[in-house]
Subunit: 565 residues, 2 copies
């Protein structure tokens, strides 16, 4: 019989406990949770603000009584673990209900303390009502508070997952929400070119979205930004990020890594042979960047918990590291991301040779009434074609496509494999060739040097430089909005009018989504043009790319009119 | 300059033509189509019957004019290719608009004639109005005919994809639809145990579903079945299957395979060096059964078309064979399948050692208001753990899960890989551990011998044999419907009441979905019980499994009441 103590009763802790029990009926398992609840759905917390999840109680998935009855696991809530006595293999616990402080011995100890929201000491922070979102108590408090407000102005600071979800759900509940992000974009798992779709959606849905501006200080119910802007806010939700909860581990002398998280080995064991750690508090190996990183994701935490329970019971496993996959709903748009993105590659100064595919397809057969454009970006290694990452944004099933890519990455696949995938197809779900197949085709074509491309983020410069841009859409499409200075030669007239296109300058082609212009590009090349590029993302992608930045900066649009259809 | 002729202007033909043009601007490309339309969405045809796709014209994706203008491809409609003169490399064509018969020479010929609906010569077939669904003309004809009917009785014969989709869409349009299938189940890509969910759905939505009964003959507006039943039908849709369209190839002396389809090599070249064939008319290599097979799927046809265009232009590729992935919507349920299933393994007498995982999870976080059960079945090889196939049925995103499995199969992955997949997660889309992760865990546990299972299809026999079945759901769940003779010991009372369970007989456990009973099974094993089995699919799966068969046979239910929640 082993006695196993677990610090933290949410995702990782609760999951480890249940697995431990399945592996041994006789072990004594005790879980300690500082707050009043174990096993709540932390990822679902923001959905309480909009009423999608009506009762805060619903967020709590298991009670201590249920843990005891179903798993014979003791879950002690309102119980903070104050310290670890590694020498004697004991912890010191404070029971907040009785005030008692007591010691509990262990054979094995699992730390699953999570991460805590960062609340920087910004001047004037006492002049606003600051909230954070970490647990059910937090969200219930925030929700009750805002429900009582007469003025409905709320500021969310930080454009990460929690910030964006909080902003969305508060907006859905009818509040005037400002979302303030110091970086030039929200949601770092998405590249700058892709995330503009979400910037636009936030803006369109009435969020006062502010990017690239920093909170300087607070005044009475006001957020003062670096730009001088003052944002009225009866409540301020701090969502700028989280820090691993390492105090306990650090005070116990466990090794803390350079990332500021608890250092663990391949089996999630800390520097103490009898202490494991899992979840947001640890650093993990990123199998794509080949470096240690913090990863605040639920799925990996659950996997780590299972590994630890297995390891304690003598079951072995291999730690393959992590690639990081995530998803978020932003009003009517769904967005998902996996693996590397351009932003991360640049931020880490990774010495990797890569290229991208960016395309837009219908998410299902185009004639089905609810078919919608799906914006897709693939990152792959050059010249190997190894798939490194993907992002997808659209109103339909984007997580499917990203999950397929995540699977390919995990299994070490290449863009050749993408071409070959046989995905289930029927008109209500997809197209006979799926966007991931197309991405594989395009990447292979690029690797074979069949054609060249430029991304939508280069178009403004091209326009400024008066580059030769040909819009191959039909005339009525062109008239309904086009790039200033672009020449309109519909694909259907291209071969008759090819002499209008000069051979001695670079030619940039686009249509609505890039498919027709791809055909046009190959036709021109086969007709002897040797400097032709397809504008990936084309007019639809460009419209999304430029739209919010125009609003943000007040600059002159490079198109006569945007088109988002 | 090459002159390339293509017979058949739908999926494979049109796709080959477009790719050929991209690879060469100068080649002459002519496509011949017997019907009046090229490039229509054959998979979307049934959706015209319900009005989801309102206008039949919308089903036609490209016109000959557009092919000419955009791709410089000549598409000759209403033009039947009558014969191939291989010696002179010419074809003979009949223009149905002018009545002219003429010859056209080729350097390369691509056959993409598709498959034709089987209309067997059943006695009395002239006494009913028979329709088939192959092209836009067919569906338009059927749709116009039924719209004029006063009596709304229609029979669909054949429970394959087209039959089921036709039945569904006609039912949605308000008709009294009988679906008659000679085999004991519809939709062979789904195993008998899984497809019962769809049988129930068809029945619940008012389809007069008849399985295991054969059409004997027809009387005036009546279908007479082998059982003696007579089904009134003002229109009869024949959807019992398709046969490869091989007449042209056969008459030209091209090799026809034992499957009855055109024989092609790895590059989809027929026995004639200058003639290729693609799509429903050919046989392909199934990479899982290691045998040649017919495969009437759009995705593979498009891939073959691309390969052929590449091969004609000197681009090489590897033929990795096919695994077969498909999807279908059946009223409120979505269903998808990939790779091998038990039915196919048995039908082919495959010498393969396999096991299954069958489980039910929520398709998204359970507290989200639109979370629904997802029924999942995984087939994998024993002892290697190699993933062989999967089926998923539910009201949510089932194609995602099956496509992930299809990807794993294509890349040669195992159940260990499933455990390790990092899928994108947010509460509106999925759960932190997805059903494919769970399936990997369970399969690994089974391979490690951690527990035993029986599938829901064995439960009736267990009940008849008075096996010892323990229902570990809570009392109120048990009272709301349970297996007759099962003992109710809720998981929450299991450890206190374990002495009630005998140690000398096999013990079968279930709960609602199998998760609690899995925990109970491991607890019992760890308490010294050595013959414990978890009933996979549990009460929810059993309810679906038994429901329609009870109705069909009028037999005594083995449960006091079904529960589908």
């Amino acid at each position: 019989m082993k006695k196993i103590l677990i610090v933290g009763g949410v995702a990782g802790g609760a999951s480890a406990a249940a697995r431990l029990r399945r592996l041994s009926e006789e072990d004594q398992i005790i879980m300690f949770e500082k707050g009043p609840h174990v096993s709540f759905s932390n990822c679902a917390l923001p959905y309480h603000l909009s009423g999608v999840i009506e009762e805060a109680d619903k967020l709590v998935l298991m009670s201590p009584e249920k843990f005891k009855a179903q798993y014979n696991i003791e879950a002690r809530v309102s119980s903070e673990v104050l310290s670890i006595d590694r020498k004697n293999k004991e912890i010191e616990v404070k029971n907040y209900l009785t005030g008692d402080i007591y010691r509990e011995s262990y054979d094995k100890l699992i730390l699953s303390p999570g991460a805590k929201p960062i609340v920087p000491n910004i001047p004037g922070i006492d002049k606003v009502n600051v909230f954070t979102i970490r647990n059910v108590v937090d969200i219930d408090k925030l929700n009750r508070y805002v429900k009582e407000l007469e003025a409905k102005d709320i500021a969310v600071i930080g454009g990460g997952f929690i910030g964006v979800e909080a902003a969305e759900n508060l907006r859905e509940a009818g509040y005037n929400v400002s979302l303030i992000e110091a970086m030039d974009q929200i949601l770092k798992p998405f590249d700058y070119d892709m995330v503009q779709i979400l910037h636009k959606e936030m803006y369109d849905k009435g969020i006062n979205l502010i990017v690239g501006d920093k909170v300087e200080n607070f005044e009475e119910n006001k957020v003062v930004l670096n730009s001088g802007k003052k944002i009225t806010a009866k409540a301020v939700v701090m969502a700028i990020g989280v820090l691993p909860e390492i105090t306990l581990a650090k005070e116990a002398g466990l090794e803390i890594a350079q990332t500021g998280a608890i250092k663990v080995d391949s089996n999630y064991k800390t520097s103490d042979n009898d202490i494991y750690a899992v979840g947001d508090a640890i650093e993990v190996y990123n199998a794509l960047t080949h470096s240690m990183t913090k990863l605040s994701l639920a799925g990996p935490a659950l996997k780590q918990a299972r590994s630890v329970a297995n390891h304690i019971n003598g079951k072995k496993g291999i730690n393959k590291g992590y690639i990081g996959s995530s998803a978020i709903k932003v009003f009517d748009f769904n967005a998902a991301s996996t693996g590397l993105n351009e932003g991360l590659i640049k931020a880490l100064n990774m010495n990797i040779n890569y290229d991208i595919v960016r395309l837009i397809t219908n998410d299902k057969v185009g004639i089905m009434p609810d078919a919608k454009p799906l914006h897709f970006k693939l990152i792959y290694e050059v010249p190997t074609g190894k798939v490194l990452g993907a992002q997808a944004i659209g109103k339909g099933d984007v997580t499917k496509r990203v999950d397929i890519i995540a699977t390919v990455i995990k299994l070490g696949g290449t863009v050749e494999d993408l071409k070959d995938l046989e995905l289930s197809y029927a008109p209500p779900f997809s197209t006979a060739k799926d966007v991931v197949n197309y991405a594989g085709y395009i990447a292979s074509n690029l690797l074979e040097g069949d054609f060249k491309q430029v991304n939508v983020d280069k178009v403004r410069k091209l326009v400024e430089d008066k580059a030769y841009i040909v819009d191959v859409r039909e005339v009525r499409e062109f008239e309904n909005g086009h790039i200033k200075g672009a020449k309109n030669i519909p694909l259907s007239q291209l071969r008759d009018r090819v002499n209008e296109i000069p051979k001695d300058v670079p030619v940039y082609l686009h249509c609505r989504t890039g498919q027709r212009s791809y055909n046009a590009a190959l036709a021109l090349q086969n007709l002897g043009y040797n400097n032709v590029s397809n504008i990936t993302g084309s007019f639809l992608g460009l419209s999304y790319y430029e739209y919010y930045n125009d609003i943000l900066t007040g600059r002159e649009p490079i198109v006569t009119k945007y088109n988002f259809k």
